[in-house]
């Protein structure tokens, strides 16, 4: 029973580890949203803060 219990705990740890790794992956759709947010704010700034340069340029 002890072995089984340990194996169950190990399986749980592996699952949790896999879940953590999956969460830590860069999700393309999420990254796209982040990029769009930043781009929108930069476009709104339109170089107001730092002269002719925009905060971000492509």
């Amino acid at each position: 029973m002890q072995t089984r219990s340990n194996l169950n705990a190990l399986s749980l740890l592996l699952l949790l580890g896999a879940a953590t790794a999956a969460e830590a992956q860069v999700q393309p759709e999420l990254a796209k949203r982040y990029f769009e947010e930043a781009t929108k704010l930069c476009e709104r700034d339109a170089g107001r803060l730092w002269g002719c340069r925009s905060v971000v340029r492509w």
Partner: protein
């Protein structure tokens, strides 16, 4: 822009990846990278909280400022600000933050007095620690302006920016240490105040500038002369009591660590060659 997660080896880019091998991306720290003849800015995924869009957007705008910072001529060497971990350094910078916060949240004569107080506290700290002025200034220009940009480009209005600057100042006092992050708390406030009082300051600022001096030039009020009276306006007595307790605890901890790792048994490893022992042979 590049978002990377070093642990899983995954990344996303804001435009198609260039040909050729990618550069080495920092896993823990954000920073600019060259890739395919372009200058990118790399964000570790963990620095971009999914559930806090305001923080995430400010972090990204902060990073994008770093990307163009060389072109703006606003690059400085690192400052050495260990004095901000001493009793007096901590007391006087927190008083500066409290006065800056009052300045950001007020207007008219109240604002003028608060700015004069902040500049007096700043001057007193720099009087106590020779060299502090230049060391602090360098970090304020390099990182403080980046944090200000994150707030200013994110804000929907000057009032939004002022609220974010006040929040950054308030958050400073809860940090366990101020060395290496103090400028992130005061940078937005100096920028927001300069936006109000010195239009065009961003065209004037240089890598050699001092944000406090720029703010002083924008006001007609000289720094407060009676700093004891000024400090009392910001509950300095309670602050000093708290900081003295922290300082005593810190000294006990340092003494304990010294006893364990310096006075106690020490493992000495012979160096096989001259030079840094941790650098592997090429």
């Amino acid at each position: 822009m590049v978002i990377v997660d070093q642990a899983t080896g995954t990344r996303a880019t804001s435009q198609p990846e260039p040909e050729g091998p990618p550069p080495r991306f920092g896993g823990l720290a954000d920073g600019p990278v060259s890739w395919g003849g372009l200058r990118w800015f790399s964000f570790p995924l963990y620095m971009l909280p999914e559930k806090d869009a305001d923080v995430r957007q400010q972090v990204m705008l902060h990073g994008l400022f770093h990307r163009i910072q060389p072109e703006l001529g606003l690059i400085t060497d690192d400052g050495f600000n260990e004095h901000l971990d001493t009793l007096e350094g901590r007391v006087w910078i927190q008083l500066e933050w409290r006065a800056l916060r009052r300045a950001v949240e007020s207007s008219g004569s109240d604002r003028a007095v608060a700015i004069a107080d902040a500049l007096a506290f700043r001057r007193e700290r720099r009087r106590l620690f020779p060299g502090a002025a230049d060391n602090e200034r360098r970090d304020e220009i390099r990182e403080g302006l980046a944090t200000y940009t994150g707030v200013a480009a994110w804000a929907n209005s000057p009032a939004d920016a002022a609220r974010a600057a006040a929040a950054a100042l308030a958050g400073g006092e809860s940090q366990p240490a101020f060395v290496g992050n103090f400028e992130a708390h005061s940078g937005p406030a100096y920028g927001v105040l300069l936006d109000d009082l010195l239009p065009g300051w961003r065209r004037q600022v240089r890598s050699t500038s001092d944000l406090g001096d720029m703010l002083a030039s924008a006001t007609n009020t000289p720094p407060t002369t009676d700093i004891a009276v000024a400090a009392a306006r910001y509950d300095a007595a309670t602050l000093r009591t708290t900081e003295e307790a922290r300082d005593r605890a810190q000294q006990v901890r340092v003494a304990e660590l010294h006893r364990r790792f310096v006075d106690g048994p020490v493992l000495t490893m012979p160096a096989q060659a001259a030079g840094p022992a941790t650098r592997p042979a090429a």
